[in-house]
Amino acid sequence: MKRRYTALAALLLLVVMTLPLAAQDLASFEKRVTVKTLSNGLTVLILRRPEAPVFSFFTLVDAGSAQDPLSQTGLAHMMEHMAFKGTPDIGTTNYTEEKVALAKVEQTYAAYESERTKRVGQDPQKLAQLKKEWQDAMAAADKFVIKNQFGEIVESHGGVGMNAGTSYDDTTYMYSMPSNMIELWAAIESDRFANPVMREFYKERNVVMEERRMRTDSNPTGRLIEQFLGTAFAANPYHRPTVGYASDLQSFSATDAISFFHQYYEPSNMTIALVGDLDPDQVMPIVERYFSQLPAKSKPAELTTVEPPQNSVREVKMRDQAQPIYVEGYHRPSYLDPDDAVYDAITDIMSNGRTSRMFRSLVRDQKIAAAAAGFSGFPGTKYGHLFAFYGVPLPGHTNQEMQKAIQEQIAKLKSQDVTDEELQMFKTRTKADLIRGLASNEGLAQQLAIYQTRYGDWRELFRYLDKVDKVTKADIRRVANKAFQNSNRTIGSIETVMDPAAAGKGTN
């Protein structure tokens, strides 16, 4: 869920209001941003920001869990984990022998998996034997592993904030380093994406299973979200969990992961942004020298399935050992929709801060909710997705009251214009959010990579403000009336059942 506004956001937006910032900043950024598409198709952006001798990077692979193959949910996320496992040069004592051992692991796993998944005629003895062969092969391969050497190299050379993330829409990698480590960075990051090795794959699968247990199975909100998305979407892969279904996580192989890698970690499907104390004239040649190692392939095909219109209200009602929560979502088109900025206006006016409609109505005035908001971009934005509202009832108040109050707010949005003040507030806040993101190396690297990928030009980061400026009160009413239709609605809720035996037996 979206974080509350921060003090920083508000203070920065003043800069925007008083100075003709968008235009000015774009001009100043034009001078400082260097963009190059390497011969293999990889796009690299470098922004010089010499405040301190450090830099941050953000690598975006334009493929996420929406690209998971059928029966292999969780594979994009799994690949993200595997990108920390090293290369022929990182993480092994002897790659020549390890390579042979890893091939044996795959071969034995395929044999085991083929027996394990037999619907008819499975031989338990054979299965046990095949499992043992697979496990022995893994143990043999493990002997060559230098554990987590990739992370160790980064951290012992001063890297901080090392992380990665997989969403439905993309997979991202990031950390920051002292600026004298730029060539080390180029060496290990290019190696990581040119020559990944699927070592310790099946142990890492268990790690991911633990991640699933933590985020989804053992967490009431996680359980609700998985069920809710599974109900709201039918055709689009947004209906499947990014972390993957347990059965898929216990089935797919390292061979599957590397095949996903070859298909989607393709240079023309990747963007890298670097921001900090870096001279592009010196750094771009280094980046080019190392990253040209990534072999050019063909850009993967776009997902063509479009979610068909929803024509009836859907509902998932969970009975669970947790306090009530209410959510409802409405389908809207992808971020490329011409009304994208209008949806953002609705998000802002409904949810941004103490003056927002949801806070003032449900929390402050009606005193029925501890928190309430409406926001776009759930669970992604690349494809048609949801505009969702939620309410967290105060003790003694109910989901029915949340639903009623949210419906009232939606009705008001559809029938009356928002005020001039509200609309103006949205516009200034948007500029603030933009500027806030520009105040740090990490934030800048992220924004540049995302906008370059999503719009083919990082300048859209600033040009988007023109679209925001054009949003009118009539636009907001028109879009609210178009999107917030009852037949386009999916409802999700948790109703409290403290008896463990009765819990989990939801209706619908």
Binding site: L11, P88, N148, G158, P178, N180, M181, E210, P395
Partner: protein, 499 residues
């Protein structure tokens, strides 16, 4: 930077051959690279001023953007609130801002500030409260006036107190919904003891007991110039701002000095503590003890030991429990350190129900190894490098530098503590690492908390030692509050926290 290891030369050699054969781009393998020294970087230090009334002010000009930011940290926090009114300081930190000033309601303040895109916020912590502002330089005077009004004359209006209480009741009602919230709370109770203020948790009754007068009294007692450290950063003229601040605060008479709370710390009672949660398929294990203060001479060795043991992607816990055994996604921890009181030592992992005991044993094994064998030179050097090479990120912006100095001032630490830390880390030896591991992580002294579903455990916890069942039932609201909430009570028809 550090010399590179040589043990990968063989691998590297084969890589070079391979590259030559395949004719790939001419790149240098990572372990052959030489790095230029990091350019000298001397971050600007803030100016410290102490007024006659005891107030300490730090000035940190920063002209990158036309903005000004102020934060005042005030001595006195939730560990000093009375046991019958736990939640008082949390409510205070919220209602100080939302309750407005004598002349403006909180809502009016929202309007005033939003029109200028400025922010004034208040907050609370265990040992202090804060009041901060952010605004455009050109708006500083009117926004700072409002800030001063809130600092000196807050109103704590009753409607906002009630709103804040409702939010807190919601937190209480929901505190057993998620495992992480149970673990966080019960860990503090086990490590510090339930009567220690660092483990206090609000209850319906203690929140209900807080009145507006309590907030006014708290303010009166603690918000005195001699209890305040104020930091200002941004685009201002230091001479002019110093004059303005002196003029503003010089006339404020000294008040009663906030006393450091007198808190007794006793080690937890060792053993296993179990919370039953039937709707999960994963156990959370937390091994707990009292940690140390940062002015402890062992602090530097402990920092290095923590890095080796459980800090980050290359620690032993991550390597052995997560990567090698695949037992956990989330695993880590070490000896806790704090500025003003013993930190909380916590070694934690999340593992599937049927490897709960296996998981506990895996953590024990790592503790044993840490105590039995000193890290080799490589491992020690890597841990030190990890701390030293990333040191720049502690002061890569003027705001971070200001924040550090304010912390040292608040806790009466030397203002050059950070510089000292760097040189001390470099001196830590392998023997010292082992010594502190033995001294501060003792298996037979740990309280081991497990939250999970014991019907699915690999073995019962009783096979490891004596087990105390922890009751997390939420005490019901007092009758008067129950009536106010309506007949249903906090948890809907079935009530809160029924087993």
């Amino acid at each position: 930077m550090r010399a590179l290891k040589s043990r990968f030369v063989q691998v590297l050699f084969s890589f070079v051959l391979l590259a030559a054969v395949l004719g790939t781009a001419q790149v240098t393998p990572w372990n052959q690279l030489k790095f230029p020294p990091l350019p000298a970087f001397h971050p600007q230090q803030p100016t410290r001023i102490q007024l006659a009334n005891g107030m300490v002010i730090f000035l940190q000009p920063d002209h990158e953007l036309p903005l000004i930011s102020v934060t005042a940290r005030i001595r006195g926090g939730s560990v000093s609130e009375p046991a019958g009114k736990i939640g008082l300081v949390g409510l205070y930190g919220d209602v100080w801002r939302t309750g407005g000033t004598k002349t403006k309601t909180g809502d009016q303040m929202d309007d005033f500030l939003e029109a200028r895109a400025a922010k004034i916020e208040t907050g609370d912590g265990s040992d202090s409260t804060t009041i901060s502002l952010n605004c455009l330089k050109g708006d500083f005077d009117p926004v700072f006036d409002l800030y001063l009004e809130l600092l000196r004359n807050p109103e704590f209006r009753g409607d906002k107190l009630e709103l804040a209480k409702q939010q807190m009741y919601t937190g209480i009602a929901r505190r057993n919904d998620e495992v992480s919230s149970i673990v966080g709370r019960e860990s503090a109770i086990l490590a510090y003891g339930k009567d220690n203020p660092y483990a206090h948790e609000e209850q319906y009754a203690t929140v209900f007991a807080v009145q507006r007068e309590d907030l006014l009294n708290w303010h009166q007692q603690y918000v005195q110039p001699n209890n305040i450290i104020l930091g200002i950063s941004g685009d201002f003229d230091p001479t002019a701002i110093e004059a303005k601040l002196r003029q503003t605060f010089d006339s404020w008479p000294k008040g009663p000095q906030a006393k450091d709370p007198d808190i007794k710390f006793t080690s937890p009672k060792p053993g296993y503590y179990f919370v039953q949660k039937t709707d999960v398929n994963q156990s959370t294990i937390a091994m707990l003890d009292l940690g140390i203060l940062r002015n402890n001479p062992d602090y530097f060795a402990v920092s290095v030991m923590n890095e080796i043991f459980g800090g980050g992607f290359s620690s032993r816990l991550f390597n052995n429990v997560r990567a090698a055994k695949g037992l956990a996604y989330s695993v880590g921890g070490g000896v806790g350190t704090s500025f003003s009181h013993p930190g909380m030592t916590n070694i934690e992992m999340l593992t599937k129900s049927d490897t709960t005991v296996v998981g506990i044993q895996a953590l024990y094994e790592e503790i044993d190894k840490m105590q039995q064998k000193a890290p080799d030179a490589d491992e020690l050097r890597r841990a030190q490098d990890q701390i030293l090479n990333s040191f720049i990120f502690r002061f890569d912006s003027p705001g971070k530098v200001l924040h550090e100095k304010m912390s040292y001032e608040f806790y009466h630490y030397p203002l050059d503590f950070l510089e000292r830390y760097r040189s001390e880390i470099d001196k830590v030896t392998a023997e010292q690492v082992t010594q502190v591991a033995r001294k501060y992580i003792q298996k037979d002294k740990l309280a081991v908390l497990v939250v999970g579903n014991d019907a699915e455990f690999d073995k019962q916890l009783g096979t490891l030692g004596s087990v105390t069942k922890v009751d997390i039932t939420i005490p019901p609201p007092p009758k008067a509050l129950m009536e106010q909430m309506g007949q249903q009570g906090p948890g809907g028809p079935e009530g809160p926290g029924q087993p």
